[in-house]
Symmetry: C4
Subunit: 225 residues, 4 copies
């Protein structure tokens, strides 16, 4: 029987879920209410399309991160100090995302250097978040005793390698950012679709790789977390 996650692991996941849920919901505060006076509201609303697009993009991106984070924690039995602080770095990146999201929404339309810079900052933030995921998997690979029983370090190794895709792709978009912020925005959307709609090898969802706590219930005796 796989070891059950201990209270600390559970609380860390619950705390992380809280931060992720708040960050994803705060995104809406960055969409301003246009003050058009006697002007045309429709025009003003259409004019701020980058705000809606950036909202949807970052919402989906954070949603996918939640899935990945939850999927990782399903495989973790206990947490050491290093993993704790790596996880804190990851949360720092996610909690920071509303800022580059608002920056991108504000400047993507303008073109020119300012739009390039805004897109590059979004790319860099995403790349750094990806690095934090990679570092966490790498630590788990080197400390397999932290994993749920029945998960071997080969699984962690595979996850570690797959988690390099994000940082590499987002780092490449930093280059693209200095050509066109709008093109970069489109590529962000494609990357999100790739992770969301792709095969399970890209995002480990419980459905397809549920070797962790998911199958504990089948014993009919364990209670859920």
């Amino acid at each position: 029987m796989p070891m059950l996650p201990n209270p600390t692991t559970h609380r860390l996941e619950a705390f992380s879920d809280g931060v992720i849920a708040i960050a994803i919901t705060l995104l809406v505060l960055e969409i301003g209410i246009p003050d058009v006076g006697a002007g045309d509201l429709g025009e003003a609303l259409v004019d701020q399309w980058p705000s809606y697009a950036a909202f949807v993009l970052s919402f989906v991106v954070i949603g996918i991160m939640w899935v990945s984070h939850h999927s990782m924690f399903e495989r973790i039995a206990s947490v050491d100090r290093r993993l704790l602080f790596l996880n804190l770095s990851l949360l720092l990146g996610i909690a920071f995302l509303p800022f580059p999201t608002a920056l991108l929404a504000e400047y993507v339309r303008e073109g020119g250097h300012n739009s390039h810079l805004a897109a590059a900052i979004y790319s860099a933030t995403m790349a750094l978040i990806g690095v934090a995921f990679f570092m966490m998997w790498r630590h788990l690979y080197h400390r397999p005793q932290l994993l749920v029983q029945g998960i071997d370090c080969q699984m962690a190794r595979g996850a570690m390698h797959r988690s390099l895709v994000g940082p590499i792709v987002y780092t490449l978009t930093i280059g693209l950012a200095f050509i066109s912020a709008v093109a970069c925005f489109v590529v962000y959307g494609l990357i999100a679709l790739y992770f969301a709609a792709g095969p399970s090898s890209r995002v480990a969802t419980p459905e397809t790789e549920g070797v962790g706590a998911s199958d504990v219930d089948d014993t009919g005796t364990t209670k859920e977390a």
Copy 2:
């Protein structure tokens, strides 16, 4: 004995609860503090009645959504990738609601095209949220293996059909919006009352349809999540 929800299902519900709780509480940030200087605060406060009305409306609406969402998840035993992303779409709609709420509050009083547009956007957001609920029930109807043991697909079918009421009614209010935003606002309130005070067939509450996890406790052996 009904299968207990597995950790993934539970965490997804907890995450959704978090997003819904945050969205419902952020609504208050959209009510501005009037700066009247030496003027009359009372007048200024009365003047922003649409802000209070929109706050109460969206609070009740999101509250009802929470009940519906919780009621659905009481019947779900496991979650597949599609359900995960349908649920993310639903949360996207709910997390977005503070925006159309503030838009409605700002423009409903003005009359004219801008007020019509603001109401139509509120209606459309609500209709889309309703579509997400419908899609989730439809998926559960086609994948009854995701349901808690003892819930058959007929139940999911009924819920799927009932979940069409919301999107249909809210889509009709898009038409009304272009006649009168204030009338539309009143109709929103009536729809909310209908869902809140109506018979249990409209909103499935645990009290009246508690065939899911609610009755697990009676065994006296299971512990709750």
Copy 3:
């Protein structure tokens, strides 16, 4: 053995805890950062003392409400639709509190009619929240089957009567508000101290009235909620 709370009751409490935790933490957003340019920051900060006082007051008030709410739910075994919507009304009041808090902070110093009105609105909001608590206890008194086994309706009756203190006292402060907003502010603080520091008959804390789920653990076999 007292019946364990069922999942619905638990989720409703968790959802309520979420709304209360968010409302209490959002209060800080209402304290503005003074922009003094070359002026004296110290003076500007002292000048906004009502913001700090209102922050601390509403923080303590919401904290006490959390204790009362948690204490009530420790005694609830199952939730019916009416209790669900009464609880939603209570949450609506708590989630609204940042608004009258900011209003009070903005206008209490000014004196005159505007300050009276701001204090009266704070009083009225608090009174209405108290009414929601009363209505919930009243419902539990009339539906003792919703209570945890071992809690009789006399306990609910006592709690119902005690829960009248809040609404009555806060309604009286509406009168005081029209004499002096500052005096009213001081009285709010005293009321909060009364509830926080008073005997357990005033606020039912788990320590002194823990007849609910608190003592379940002693059996050594049950797991916690």
Copy 4:
């Protein structure tokens, strides 16, 4: 077998986790989006470096507080009224932190009296939060019956003494604040590193001092909190 935390203890910790998660995530709202028009966004972003630095600092500081708080609650079996209100004071301090963080970010660069004052307020807030931690440990030392079985009051005494480091060091930085706000900022970072990277005697992490609920799982029978 160590006593399991009872529901009240658990809910208090969950509520505290919620407040801490929200406070840590709200920090990002204090970073403004520069409005540079046709100007240089890069310059404007570099110019607001104190906002990023203060964001990272307070994020790490609150993260460490979460670890300390969680570590304390792992050792608490039951909560009395006094501990409840001491914990509320602690949360008040943490929920207030976004304000001194934004103040520091706004004024640290300016130099002169205003910057000194902003740093002193940050120091004082941190010192007071430290005092709340100390008061909680002191109460636990005097009421060892509140501790998890197997934890003796010597452990609480050690934790109480260690918890004096924070308030003492932060009080000393109040003096430094009136010499240089930037120097103070650097020292805050060093203190955070000391607590984060230091030996386990400084911050009690589950890994190294897990005598509480952490080792409950080894019995293979208990479920997690």
